[in-house]
Amino acid sequence: MSPGRATIQPMLANRPSASFLDRLPHLPRLGLGVSTEFGAAQAPGALDLAVLRERHPAYAGFLEIGIETAKGIDADARAWTARGLPTTYHYLDINLDEPEDFDAEWLDDVRRIAAEIRPAWLCGDAGMWHLGRRERGHMLLLPPILTETAADAMADGIACLRAEVGLEVLPENPPGAAYLGDLHLLDFFARVLERADTGMLLDCAHLAIFQRLRGLPPTAGLDAFPLERVVEIHVAGGSERRHEAFAWVEDDHSPEVLADTWTIVEQVIARAPNLRAVVYECERNPLDACLPGFGRLATLLGG
């Protein structure tokens, strides 16, 4: 078991009013890891988690498990947790800015699954995971509306979830083909982090998508962003697409990480003093195709 994992729940339970930067030392350093979601590891050509861990343990320091409570966790994730290996819980089914979404049944399920996988923290895209209620046929992923009002609603949801589950909740900037609102994505999340008093999962590939859509350089806005709150980053490949005259990047988790994303990754790793975890999201690709990306990240992390 990772040294910090046993301390996080008692710490939150005993000191719920401690500031995030005071709580931060209790978060474990997970290093470089991989992600999965229900059934992903069984798809043809998918990354074999056990083989990765056996052959390249430094690339599989932890497993980020994408979870819809209605599905639970699959056999591969269960096998990982049965070995006592570190995990994080990546939610796939909560609209953090919709108070109606925090129903008792869902919260019970989250607590039950968290008790089983013992994650270092909860994290996940802070956007819209389902239209309307949480039910079959409603799943999607949309970014938040980038306004102060929406940021405040999201922050309140994060604080609520943290209090209900007793684990840190790290919002992630979601991908999108259309972002509405008058704030820059990083200004939006800076406001969320401040009001929720929490850390951040910065998805560098999603940020690159946003910057490109807005016609901005990859690292625009990073100087003013509270990088000391970045606890985790995601790195993933994307594919450049065109629909009619509209150019966009599909966040397809291919092994080919775009140059814009690498630019962001390099700056954040160099400047985020409290970075604890890096996920290379390549779960649906064979190991050999992923090794160059893992290697580059390990080098950047000093491994």
């Binding site: 309307g132 949309l142 083909a177 509405l180 599909e250």
Partner: protein
């Protein structure tokens, strides 16, 4: 909560190209029923129109997932299926944070032919009990009510037979005269949903329990439909034991 209203407009635009067209042509008119501001309307139309179509397969994918719960109705609903995302039921449901499965049922019920409406009501009830919470709050002491994982319907006679035939890929017979009472029940623990015909008196009893009812009132109703005093209590006990009433 204007941001939520705006996001719901985005969702509708991702599924309904006709709405996209209407918004870009005349945003004030197209969004007259939505709580979005002038600035928010400006954000929408400042977005390249093609951005709403980057996943053109999405509507078909969502519809296929929803239709998996309407296999019988879909076979008799004809072209009504294809117009779901342009329907008032779809747009109202997204606006009101409702259930797309229920909205599709309402939409399919409007298809031509005598079978579509009863089959849509039946499959909508199945979808509804499938989504019911695992645990329902108990009725007040001395009262009973139909559990949310149960539903009772009165449909034209022959509806259940037509439903069964269509689900087995067979040609259904027509509907008969009169009505039949059907109990739709999600069985614990695996969530399988069953549909069975119930006698008229039992259907009336279950209808009466759709809203919380005093146990004594339900016993009187059972006696009115032919049960003797001891039998009425026994019927109610059995329904509680089977988790139909709680």
């Amino acid at each position: 909560m204007s941001h939520l209203a705006l996001r719901r407009v985005m969702i509708r635009m991702l599924h309904d190209p006709l709405l996209v067209e209407a918004i870009y042509a005349d945003p004030v008119r197209a969004l007259a029923g939505d709580e979005v501001t002038a600035i928010e309307r400006a954000w929408l139309i400042a977005t390249p129109r093609a951005a709403w179509g980057t996943d053109p397969e999405r509507p078909a994918r969502v519809l296929a997932a929803l239709l998996a719960e309407y296999p019988a109705t879909a076979r008799v609903a004809g072209e009504q299926v294809a117009t779901f995302f342009a329907s008032s039921q779809f747009h109202r449901t997204v606006r009101e944070r409702g259930s797309l499965a229920q909205a599709l049922g309402e939409h399919l019920a409007g298809a031509a032919g005598s079978l579509a409406a009863p089959l849509a009501r039946l499959e909508a009830a199945i979808a509804r009990v499938r989504r019911a919470p695992r645990a329902a709050p108990p009725a007040p002491p001395g009262s009973l009510r139909l559990n949310p994982h149960a539903a009772v319907l009165e449909l034209p006679r022959g509806s259940l037979a037509a439903f069964t035939a269509l689900r087995h890929g067979e040609v259904p017979s027509g509907l008969g005269a009169g009505v039949e009472g059907l109990l739709v029940l999600r069985q614990p623990p695996d969530g399988e949903v069953t549909v069975e015909e119930v006698p008229e008196g039992l259907a009336a009893l279950l209808h009466a329990a759709e809203r919380t009812a005093a146990r004594g009132v339900l016993e009187v109703l059972a006696r009115e439909h032919g049960a003797d005093p001891g039998e009425a209590a026994s019927i109610l006990d059995g329904l509680v034991r089977d988790a139909v009433l709680g």
